[in-house]
């Protein structure tokens, strides 16, 4: 599959900062993937998200979106291909009502009003928030606000959506809800998702995991590749997934399960086989 995002040797340092927030970062993402970006607080995840959207000007390196290099001239067109959903639902609501907020990005493009109305309606339908179209943000729950944020982004029909800890301020129900919606949308609309997250449930269902540490990408790979080795994971901002921890502890306790990473159903199958052998 064609790569949709290519970063080559990208570095960025904030003004007045002693250390670069990103250092020589190279990354390739294939289209229609779900990429989980993980790392400790301050490791540069949000910075990475922002440079991808051209929100911060990189010092060195190149960024290509859909094969095209990102430059200051094509910034606004490129940005239309990328949508972002942020952490705090309250800090990204621009419109005074749900529909106004969804329309915000369309207004910025100068889209005619009747076309906007169609798009807004369509986007709200995708996240099942049509009934709330005229509501004010204060009357919504955190999860509902994030749904509106998603609608505001997909209304622009981007090819890539970046989520920066978009579920971390929600309760478990809200979290699952948003995750499910994003999975559906990814299938339906064929988008690429980059998700910054600390949530293990989300990480283990990603196609690709990218680990950042102190501004550098120190590891990328599939779930199996990343979790085949338990050592150092916590230092990298990762708890081992539950099944992996269980496998390791069972082995330590003398239960002969395989060392290789298994997802939940595979591990259960293996345990059943073990039991039958007893």
């Amino acid at each position: 599959m064609d790569p949709i995002i290519e970063l080559d040797q990208v570095s960025y340092t904030y003004e007045n900062a002693a250390h670069p927030a990103l250092q020589q970062v190279s990354l390739t993402v294939a289209a229609h993937q779900w990429v989980a970006i993980v790392g400790l607080n301050g490791s540069g995840k949000s910075t990475l998200a922002q440079i991808l959207d051209g929100l911060l000007p990189i010092d060195t390196g190149t960024i290509k979106i859909g094969g095209q290099p990102l430059t200051t001239d094509n910034l606004w067109q490129m940005r239309q291909q990328i949508g972002m959903i942020f952490q705090n639902p309250d800090h990204q609501f621009v419109g005074a009502t749900v529909e106004d907020d969804v329309a915000f990005g369309l207004e910025n493009q100068g889209m005619p009003r009747d076309q906007m109305q169609q798009r807004v309606h369509w986007a709200l339908e995708q996240v099942k928030m049509t009934a709330f179209a005229h509501k004010a943000p204060q009357t919504l729950s955190g999860g509902q606000k994030q749904r509106v944020a998603i609608a505001g982004v997909i209304a622009l029909q981007p090819r890539i959506i970046i989520m920066d800890e978009s579920t971390s301020m929600l309760d478990p129900t809200g979290r699952e809800d948003i995750l499910r919606i994003m999975q559906d949308l990814q299938q339906q609309l064929q988008i690429t998702i980059l998700s910054i997250t600390h949530s293990m449930a989300e990480i283990v269902q990603a196609d690709q995991i990218v680990i950042l540490q102190a501004g550098q990408i120190i590891k990328t790979g599939t779930v199996e590749q990343i979790f085949s080795n338990l050592r150092n994971l916590t230092e990298l901002g990762l708890q081992p997934p539950f099944t992996q921890q269980l496998q390791a502890d069972l082995r330590a306790a003398g239960v002969p399960v395989t060392a290789q990473y298994h997802n939940k159903s595979r591990l259960i199958r293996e345990l059943c086989q073990l039991r039958l052998k007893m």
Binding site: G39, L40, N41, G42, Q87, S141, G142, E165, S168, M169, D171, P172, T173, G174, H198, T234, E235, G237, L238, Q239, F242, T243, Q245, L246, D249, L250, A253, G254, V255, K264, I268, L271, C272, L274, R275, M278
Partner: protein
């Protein structure tokens, strides 16, 4: 300092047209040394409940006994300092309460309000920095130059500095990375071992299972159950009926049960699960 609620109800704006029930008819007792979890959906009244425990809110009806003191709807708002010193409260995203220009001053703010001298307060503050595992040289820095995780620790140190006997925590680790999460939870567990009563609002059932000896379940402004984590997570019907989560270890065990495994009682933590499986599958020392 035990805390008792007797038929406590709180209605927000009880006189106005926008009256909203915060909690309704709550009865409970929290004993010295408890590590209590409060769980429930968003808006179920958890925050309202705990804000009564240091008299930030007064009941609309009912009585709350906090140690020697009784808080009733008619209690005057005066002289609550002593109470608030003994019952510390860490709010959600507590870094939002920082306002001084150095970390040390900010941690001293509480103790000084409660009557400590500057030197006394500073000594305590330095001790607290150590307790929350922040380097000592951070004391003279501005809290606003710190990372999010460090700011959180400073804010928590600012509450601990009053040396409360009861510590209330409203989702204290929200938004932190897993490493910081574990470190803070261990800190609270340690305080609890040294005798501090801990009351924790949490959405993370792993924490409830691992650290708490009691769990209170709120739903629609009511306290619907007060039990132990072990009992709660073994009551599958109740869990499903009230739309609650179980720890991963329990969920995993439940799936094993469907495949024919048997557990006397469902494990609620990963070590428990390992132990039980080891027994069934014959590991070493089995």
């Amino acid at each position: 300092m035990p805390i008792t609620f007797e038929n406590v109800t709180h209605i927000y704006q009880s006189s106005g047209p926008l009256a909203a029930t915060g909690i309704k008819n709550v009865n409970l007792t929290i004993n010295d040394g408890d590590f209590v979890a409060i769980i429930g959906q968003t808006g179920s009244g958890k925050s309202t409940l705990v804000q009564h425990m240091n008299a930030l809110l007064k009941p609309t009806a009912g009585v709350i006994h906090i140690g020697e003191r009784a808080i009733t709807p008619d209690s005057k708002n005066k002289h609550l300092k002593k109470l608030r010193q003994k019952v510390g409260m860490v709010f959600q995203f507590p870094e939002a309460q920082l306002f001084e220009d150095t970390v040390l001053k900010d941690i001293c703010f509480g103790p000084q309000n409660f009557g400590a001298s500057v030197t006394q307060a500073q000594a305590t503050a330095r001790e607290m920095l150590d307790l929350v595992k922040l380097p000592a040289d951070i004391a003279e820095q501005s809290p606003f130059d710190l990372s999010g995780g460090q700011m959180r620790r400073v804010a928590i140190a600012g509450v601990l500095a009053a040396r409360p006997q009861v510590l209330i925590l409203d989702e204290p680790t929200a938004g932190l990375d897993p490493q910081a999460h574990t470190e803070l939870m261990e800190l609270f567990a340690n305080l609890n071992r040294q005798g501090t009563t801990i009351i924790l609002i949490s959405h993370q059932m792993e924490d409830v299972a691992q650290y708490c000896n009691r769990v209170l379940i709120m739903e629609n402004a009511q306290l619907i159950r007060s039990t132990t984590p072990q009992m709660l997570f073994n009551d599958q019907d109740f869990i499903i009926q009230h739309n609650l989560q179980v720890p991963e270890a329990t969920a995993f065990a439940q799936e094993l049960v469907q495949q024919g495994f048997q557990f006397e009682s469902l494990p609620i933590t990963e070590p428990q699960l390992v132990q039980q499986l080891r027994r069934q599958l014959g590991g070493i020392n089995g």
